[in-house]
C-alpha cells in the first residue's frame, strides 16, 4: 500500500469516527426534552432522530467547499493536519460526553484543526479574526437569543393556558413537541452530515483520487450518513440526561416551546447567513423554557458548567490537535502512533464511563451525570 493511500484511508476512517461521535453528541439536541417528558420512549426517540439524520444527510446537496469556512487557511491544510484535527475533535467530544456536557461538535473540529495548523503551518495559517466572528461571538449570541425566545414563548404559553402541564392539554404538547424535535433532527442531518462528506471529499481531491470541483461520491454520502445515523441511534445518554433533566425539569409545554425555538433559530441562522451552533441553540432554548415558567427551577450550576465547557472546547481540542499534528507530521510511524493513541484514549474514556453508566433505561432516573458510582443509588 502506498503512503498516500494509507494516509487517505486513515483520514477517512477517522472522519467517519468523528461523524459517529457527532451523531451521539447531538442526539440529545433534538430528543432530550421528548425523552424527559415521556413524549417518546427513549429507544423510539433515538430511532426517529437517527432516521431523520440519515435522511437529512442524503438530502443535503450543498457539500461544504471548504473545511473550515476561512477559520484556517485551507490552502495550507494537508491531509495529515486534517487527521490530527479530527483526533483532537473526537477526543474532546468523548471527554465532554463522559462528563455529560453538551458541546458543539463543529467547534471541536475547528479547534482541532486550528491546533494542527498552528503546529503544521504556523500562526499565519490561522485567521484569528474569523475565529472571533464565526466562533466566539456566535457562542455568546446563540444561547442568549435562544433563551430569550424560548423564555418569551414559554411565558406566553403558560399565561394563555391554565394548567398546561395537566391532561388533556399536556397530551397536545407532547405531540407538538415530537414534531418540532423531528424538525431539529432533520435540519441537523442536512447540516452536520455534509460536514464529514466535505472533509472526505476534500482529502480525496487533495490526494488526487478525485477530480477537483466534483461532488462527493455516493459511497462517501452513504458512509457519512450511516456513521452519523448509528451515532445518533446510540444515543449519547449522558448528554441526554443533562439536557432533559439536568438544566431544567422539562414538562411537555416547555419542551414544545424549547424545540420550536431551536428549530426556528437553526432555520433562521442557516438561511440568513449567521451560523449558530445547534448545540448552543438547543441548550439556550432549554434554559429559556425554565426561565419563562413561573416557579420553575433552573439549575444554574449545571448551566455554568456547560458554559465553561464551551469556553474550553476550542483551546482543548486545539491542544490535542496540535500535539497529534506534531507527532503525525514526523512520518508514517507518527501517524500510526497517533491513531493508536486515539483508539487507546477512546477505549479508556469508554471504560471510565462504565463506572457510572447512563443508558436508555436509566436516563430519566437522575439529573446528574457522575463519573464515580453514586454511593446511594437506591433511593429511599
Amino acid at each position: 500500500m502506498s503512503t498516500t493511500l494509507f494516509l487517505v484511508s486513515l483520514v477517512i476512517i477517522t472522519a467517519l469516527f468523528f461523524d459517529f461521535t457527532n451523531g451521539f453528541h447531538d442526539s440529545a439536541n433534538a430528543m432530550a426534552t421528548s425523552v424527559a417528558t415521556g413524549a417518546l420512549q427513549p429507544k423510539v426517540a433515538v430511532l426517529i432522530a437517527a432516521v431523520l439524520n440519515v435522511a437529512g444527510a442524503f438530502l443535503s446537496t450543498e457539500v461544504a467547499k471548504t473545511i473550515s469556512g476561512g477559520i484556517v487557511n485551507d490552502a495550507l491544510v494537508t491531509p495529515t493536519m486534517i487527521f490530527a484535527g479530527l483526533v483532537g475533535a473526537i477526543l474532546w467530544n468523548l471527554m465532554t460526553w463522559l462528563l455529560g456536557l453538551p458541546s458543539s461538535s463543529s467547534h471541536a473540529l475547528f479547534g482541532g484543526l486550528i491546533g494542527a495548523v498552528l503546529i503544521g503551518a504556523g500562526v499565519s495559517g490561522v485567521n484569528f479574526s474569523v475565529v472571533v466572528s464565526k466562533i466566539v461571538l456566535p457562542a455568546i449570541v446563540a444561547p442568549v437569543v435562544a433563551a430569550l425566545a424560548a423564555g418569551a414563548a414559554t411565558f406566553i404559553l403558560y399565561k394563555m393556558i391554565k394548567r398546561a402541564d395537566s391532561e388533556p392539554r399536556a397530551g397536545w404538547f407532547r405531540y407538538a413537541q415530537t414534531v418540532s424535535a423531528s424538525m431539529v433532527a432533520l435540519a441537523h442531518g442536512t447540516s452536520d452530515g455534509q460536514k464529514t462528506m466535505g472533509v472526505i471529499t476534500l482529502v480525496l481531491i487533495t490526494a488526487g483520487y478525485q477530480d477537483s470541483g466534483t461532488g462527493p461520491q455516493f459511497w462517501v454520502v452513504a458512509a457519512a450518513g450511516l456513521a452519523i445515523g448509528i451515532g445518533t441511534y446510540s444515543g449519547g445518554w449522558r448528554i441526554m440526561r443533562t439536557m432533559g433533566k439536568g438544566i431544567v425539569d422539562v414538562h411537555a409545554p416547555q419542551g414544545f416551546a424549547a424545540e420550536t425555538t431551536s428549530a426556528a433559530a437553526i432555520l433562521a441562522s442557516s438561511h440568513m447567513g449567521f451560523g449558530l451552533s445547534t448545540t448552543q441553540v438547543c441548550s439556550g432554548s432549554i434554559i429559556g423554557s425554565g426561565v419563562g415558567k413561573k416557579l420553575a427551577h433552573v439549575r444554574w450550576t449545571t448551566a455554568r458548567k456547560i458554559f465553561y465547557g464551551w469556553l474550553l472546547t476550542l483551546p482543548a481540542a486545539a491542544l490535542v490537535g496540535g500535539a497529534a499534528a506534531a507527532i503525525a507530521l514526523t512520518g508514517t510511524l507518527g501517524l500510526v502512533i497517533v491513531f493508536a493513541a486515539l483508539i487507546a484514549g477512546a477505549l479508556a474514556i469508554y471504560a471510565i464511563s462504565k463506572r457510572a453508566p447512563v443508558s436508555s433505561s436509566n436516563v430519566n432516573d437522575s439529573a446528574d451525570v457522575t463519573i464515580n458510582p453514586e454511593k446511594t443509588s437506591v433511593s429511599a
Binding site: 437529512g56 438530502l59 443535503s60 446537496t61 450543498e62 479574526s129 472571533v132 466572528s133 461571538l137 449570541v141 437569543v145 435562544a146 430569550l148 425566545a149 424560548a150 418569551a152 414563548a153 414559554t154 406566553i156 404559553l157 394563555m160 393556558i161 398546561a164 395537566s166 391532561e167 388533556p168 392539554r169 397536545w172 404538547f173 407538538a176 414534531v179 424538525m183 432533520l186 435540519a187 442536512t190 409545554p253 414544545f256 416551546a257 420550536t260 425555538t261 428549530a263 426556528a264 433559530a265 432555520l267 433562521a268 441562522s269 438561511h271 440568513m272 447567513g273 449567521f274 449558530l276
Partner: protein
Amino acid sequence: MNIDWASLALVAITTVVAAVAIVGIFSLGVAALTSGGGRETGGSIVTNPPSAAAKIAGYACVGISGLLVLYGLYLIIPQFH
C-alpha cells in the same frame, strides 16, 4: 474584523418572533380545543367537549401550525429550492 451585525440582528429577531408566534398560535388552538372545562371525579378528570365555535377556531390554529411545519420542511429540504 468583519462582523455581520445586520444578519445577526435579523436572525435574533426572526427567532424570537417565529418562536413566540408559532408557540402562541398552537397554544391558542389547544386552549380552544380544551376549553370545555373539566371536573374531577374520584381522581380522574372528565372533560366536557368545547363549543362548536371553539372547536372550529382550535382546529384552525392547529391547522396553521401544521402549515408552518410544512414551511419549515420546505426550508430544510434543499431540493425544494
